[in-house]
């Protein structure tokens, strides 16, 4: 059995214990599921960014695709980071890539997460304005907010 499986099992048994002791309060989800949910959310975010990028690069995406992409980015940016990064979903749980530092420096992480919304709003406005250079600039600014967390709080894909 590899480490990841052991860790996942350990995390699962710990959470089972927690369930037992707290009577399994409603809404408490399985950490592995939460990691999967997060990956779906990030995929949605990435899909949105990718659509805008395709439009900026002039590689087959229409302005409408870009607008839909920005909408997806906005929707994720408006989410509460606590629901996306619940405690107990750090690296080791399923194939989580979130460093434990994310929770240790939660206020920093939260601040960086909330920087995404105004950036995404500007991106959305730029797409509605239709100026490609401005869209490009806003896309860069938005991805900067993504990168600020990935740089410190995400383990590298191995």
């Amino acid at each position: 059995m590899n480490n990841r499986v052991v860790n996942a099992l350990a995390a699962a048994s710990v959470s089972a214990l927690l369930f037992a002791s707290f009577g399994g309060s409603a809404g408490a989800a399985d950490p592995a599921e939460q990691v999967k949910d997060r990956q779906q959310t990030m995929k949605k975010l990435g899909g949105g960014m990718g659509a805008v990028a395709k439009f900026v690069k002039n590689e087959g995406a229409t302005a409408e695709d870009a607008a839909k992409g920005a909408e997806a980015v906005l929707a994720v940016a408006a989410m509460d980071p606590k629901t996306i990064f619940p405690q107990g979903t750090a690296v080791g749980v399923a194939d989580s890539a979130a460093k434990p530092e994310l929770w240790q420096s939660w206020s920093v992480a939260q601040e960086r997460w909330s920087a995404m919304k105004p950036a995404a709003e500007k991106l959305d406005a730029a797409i509605k304005g239709g100026d490609r250079a401005q869209i490009a600039q806003a896309l860069g600014a938005t991805s900067k907010t993504c990168g600020s967390c990935h740089e410190d709080f995400r383990v590298k894909k191995q």
């Binding site: 990028a53 991805s143 990168g147 191995q158």
Partner: protein, 296 residues
Amino acid sequence: MRCLARIARTLPFALAAGGAWAGGAGAGGAWAAEPDPVARGAYVFQAAGCLGCHTDEKAGGLPLAGGRALKTPFGTFFTPNITPDPANGIGRWTDADFVRAFREGRRPDGAALFPAFPYASYTRMTDRDLLDLKAYLFAQPAAPVANKPHDLTPPFSWRFLVPAWQWMYLTPGPVPDDPARPAAWNRGRYLVDALGHCGECHTPRSLLGGLDADRYLGGNPDGPDGDKVPNITAHPKGVGGWSDGDVGLLLEAGLTPEGDVVGGAMGEVIRNSTSKLTAEDRAAIVAYLKTVPPLE
């Protein structure tokens, strides 16, 4: 500051425009015309990515005062202070000392520098870029911060062995432009091989810590902080399937073709260095990378 104004003029994603290259003079690029050495040096400083390694950003260290731990398979290096502080930094270095450190990997007292300072790449820098870089560094505030000793595993801690390493792995530059290639290609090669020192992470190393020239930019399973560093050759397993715009957007904004935004060490390189290059220079990097022999 004039240099900042110039850098701010960088056009976003001008790569889409393709032939935007201003026809700069080979390795010198469009910056050859800038008269102020400090302004030119500021750009060289960014393209060479000096800030990241020489600042202990996470611990709130002063800019360029060093102290950042670089974990490598050979031990942990602590980067030195490169501010003009005369006691702790490089304030007493002459022009010749400075050029020799980059060209030959030697300290002013003649002792060999450990190649964690990537002089095997920086040796390709032109004298002019080196002296402009020195002018810029000497225009920065001095930080009275003492250097930390490295924590290396023998035999890699034995400085007297470094000249042997240099004999094997250091080919002193600069490297003349290839007249058969366009100016943009030559500039791109200079940005990738000399200033950007991309191969230091993207090329695997031998057991002795030299770059494996046969696997140039082919990816490194054992990069900084134990991370895998991807293949950036034109192979499908590298960036062969990427459009020019894809590579340009990654260098400018960190965005991958899938819409992911890179983090880790490359995130930092993008933040401190490649995002601050001119669009022409990023296009030159793309032009050069496309010609790097594909490796699986």
